[in-house]
């Protein structure tokens, strides 16, 4: 049985368990190299800025559930073909190499739509906030907000 449209509203407001994410120097180097940016030095001391893609990495890496678990909240699996829809990163301050961030957030929207070519699909929005951990250089500072949407095809709706 498919995921009912009426069940969508019940998931809005559901919070992720959340967690903590550390921008480890080795991970900062590899991510920058992988995305074709200049990696931060592993030998230089002091403060270094992490690639801004780490806002998304941290948010999704420490939301506290797996992708499969998130899909299951909406009665779906990876085999149903959920895809990324949109993404928005808002950075209040740069992420730093070696720093740790507390991640919190949850489902902020869910809506069923019907396209002439695509048929029924659900657009689910979820948002996470990153705050510097209490023992960090700027304790508790709001560092970033990451908003995303996933599109779930509903072939049986």
């Amino acid at each position: 049985m498919g995921f009912a449209e009426a069940d969508l509203d019940g998931q809005v407001g559901r919070a992720f368990p959340g967690g903590t994410y550390t921008v480890s120097p080795w991970r900062a180097w590899l991510l920058a190299d992988t995305v074709l940016a200049e990696p931060p030095s592993l030998r230089a001391g002091g403060d270094q800025v992490a690639h801004p893609l780490f806002a998304w990495m941290a948010a999704t890496g420490a939301m506290g559930i797996t992708w499969d678990e998130l899909f299951a909240w909406f009665g779906a699996t990876a085999a149903d073909g959920p895809v990324f829809g949109e993404h928005e990163t808002t950075l209040h301050r740069p992420l730093r190499v070696g720093a740790s961030y507390r991640v919190s957030g949850g489902i902020v929207s869910a809506q069923r739509k019907v396209g002439r070519r695509t048929g029924a699909f659900d657009i689910v929005g979820y948002s996470m906030d990153l705050h510097e951990i209490a023992s960090g250089a700027a304790p508790g500072a709001h560092v970033a907000t990451c908003w995303n949407s996933i599109v779930f095809p509903r072939r049986d709706a």
């Binding site: 190299d33 992988t34 995305v35």
Partner: protein
């Protein structure tokens, strides 16, 4: 040095000459992402998706971040990025980021530039000329 910016300014072109399948493998490991279309040709073929691995969406987004922050003065310059994913990028694709300033404004004492951004496939077999990511970015200017 102050970054010259006014409405209509086109940012310097940023290109990825050939998307690397090897980088996708590293990204999959960094993300703990088991989705095999990013690294296993056998899986791609079984799904009827050819034999070219599909680049991760966040990498495509990262190229756009590189383009706007290189112009603005460094990776600490990004204030906001909003994008929509429009299509797949495959291993071997030649990509280009185009960005144009749509507004220059002051906010909380910082000089900001808003830009329209698009990541497009230049060539590489299939999808040539297609926009695969589009959106807007805001950077802090020096």
């Amino acid at each position: 040095m102050t970054t010259a910016a006014e409405v209509g300014t086109e940012l310097p072109g940023y290109e990825v000459p050939s998307v690397s399948a090897e980088k996708m493998k590293t990204m999959a490991a960094l993300l703990s992402d088991p989705t095999a279309i990013h690294w296993d040709v056998e899986t791609l073929q079984a799904l009827g998706m050819g034999d070219r691995p599909v680049n991760q969406g966040p990498l495509n987004m990262g190229y756009v971040m590189n383009a706007v922050t290189a112009w603005a003065g460094g990776p600490d310059r990004l204030r906001r990025l909003r994008v929509r994913f429009l299509g797949n990028v495959l291993a071997g694709h030649h990509l280009r980021v185009r960005a144009t300033v749509t507004a220059v404004r002051e906010e909380d004492g910082a000089r900001l530039a808003d830009c329209d951004v698009v990541l497009e496939v230049v060539d590489g077999g299939g999808g040539d000329g297609a926009a695969v990511v589009s959106g807007t970015a805001t950077v802090v200017l020096s």
